[in-house]
């Protein structure tokens, strides 16, 4: 698996899952554009780590919830690189609330970043992939097929992202663009610490059949595979990375009990 000579954009690529994906693609030879919004320091550190791998790294600050900022980001990519081979829609945000407490502001904020941005980035990326093909992988979560406490709006936005993935996969197939998604259960990241603190996610180490929590590198490995030619015939799918949790929900009891 080699991405030598490829240019990849990872939205939210400075931390957590996005950072692991950026480093994984870079380790296979891709030049990386790291989009970030609120965490410049970690994005710049990730860029340095990527350059140490012998490939190019750029950072771009943009709130992907704002269509004008997405336009600016892709204009910059077009001017600087003239093309794009891989788009990873990873940036996400959300408001932890029960569905009855979701108001218009929370809905728009979450949907704009988690779903609309994936559409707009894919549209822009497809133009930069014109004539050469490409790969688009978006990061979903188990909050789409399953109900998680206080996760409503995020789960709904991820369901939109997964449906978008299917439509893009079919409509962009004639252009040689492969589109898929990866859905993870709770992943050990800084963001998860927030979810723990807010009581949105419980520690699931004891109940994951694989015996440990999912780490960002687990997700990055699958994303990299989907970006490779080996995955050419996988289209419009959402691959679940959860250590087996979702296929055995009735086995979800603590190993100590």
């Amino acid at each position: 698996m080699s991405f030598e000579g490829k240019v990849a954009l990872v939205t939210g690529g400075g931390r957590g899952i996005g950072q692991a994906i950026a480093l994984k693609l870079a380790s296979q030879g891709a030049d990386i554009i790291i989009n970030f919004f609120r965490h410049r320091e970690s994005a710049e550190k990730t860029a340095k780590d990527i350059e140490a791998l012998g490939v190019k790294a750029e950072t771009i600050r943009a709130n992907v919830g704002d269509p004008a900022k997405i336009d600016e980001m892709f204009d910059m990519i077009g001017n600087k690189f003239g093309r794009l081979d891989i788009l990873i829609n990873n940036a996400a945000s959300g408001v932890g609330r029960p569905v009855m407490d979701v108001d218009v502001k929370a809905w728009e904020w979450t949907m704009d970043i988690n779903a609309r941005a994936c559409l707009l980035c894919a549209q822009k990326a497809a133009k930069l992939m014109e004539g050469r093909g490409g790969k688009i992988v978006s990061i979903s979560s188990l909050g789409s097929p399953f109900v998680l406490p206080n996760y409503s709006i995020v789960g709904i936005s991820k369901a939109a992202l997964e449906a978008l993935t299917r439509y893009l996969a079919i409509e962009l197939a004639p252009r040689g663009i492969c589109v898929n998604a990866v859905a993870a259960s709770a992943v050990e990241t800084e963001a998860l610490k927030f979810y723990f603190k807010e009581g949105l996610v419980k520690d699931n180490r004891q109940v994951t059949p694989a015996g440990r929590m999912v780490i960002p590198e687990d997700v990055a490995n699958v994303v990299a595979f989907l970006c490779s030619e080996e995955a050419f015939m996988i289209r419009g799918q959402t691959i679940i990375v959860d250590g087996g949790t979702s296929v055995g929900p009735f086995t979800l009891v603590s190993k100590e009990s």
């Binding site: 609120r38 410049r40 408001v95 502001k105």
Partner: protein
């Protein structure tokens, strides 16, 4: 309009409170601002003053006055006013 007045207007618009009740001592809790209100206020202030406010700095704000002081300092440093 001063930096403080502009930030007060932004915060009042986002949190739907009367700007008259926002003092330098007001905490985000006092004005019933939730985490989304705070992020949106930060984004709006960043765009208004063309500055970046890292989350690590924003987390140190104990009240509206801290927020204003930080922005005033940044604006002065960068010669935006």
């Amino acid at each position: 309009m001063t930096v403080e007045e502009q930030i007060r207007e932004i915060v009042a618009r986002i949190t739907h409170v009367d700007k008259g009740i926002i003092t330098r001592e007001s905490t985000f809790k006092d004005i019933k601002a939730d985490s989304l209100d705070i992020v949106q206020a930060l984004v709006a202030v960043e765009e208004t003053f063309e500055i970046e406010i890292p989350d690590e700095e924003a987390q140190k704000f104990k009240n509206f006055g801290d927020f204003v002081s930080y922005v005033e300092d940044r604006v002065a440093q960068e010669g935006k006013v």
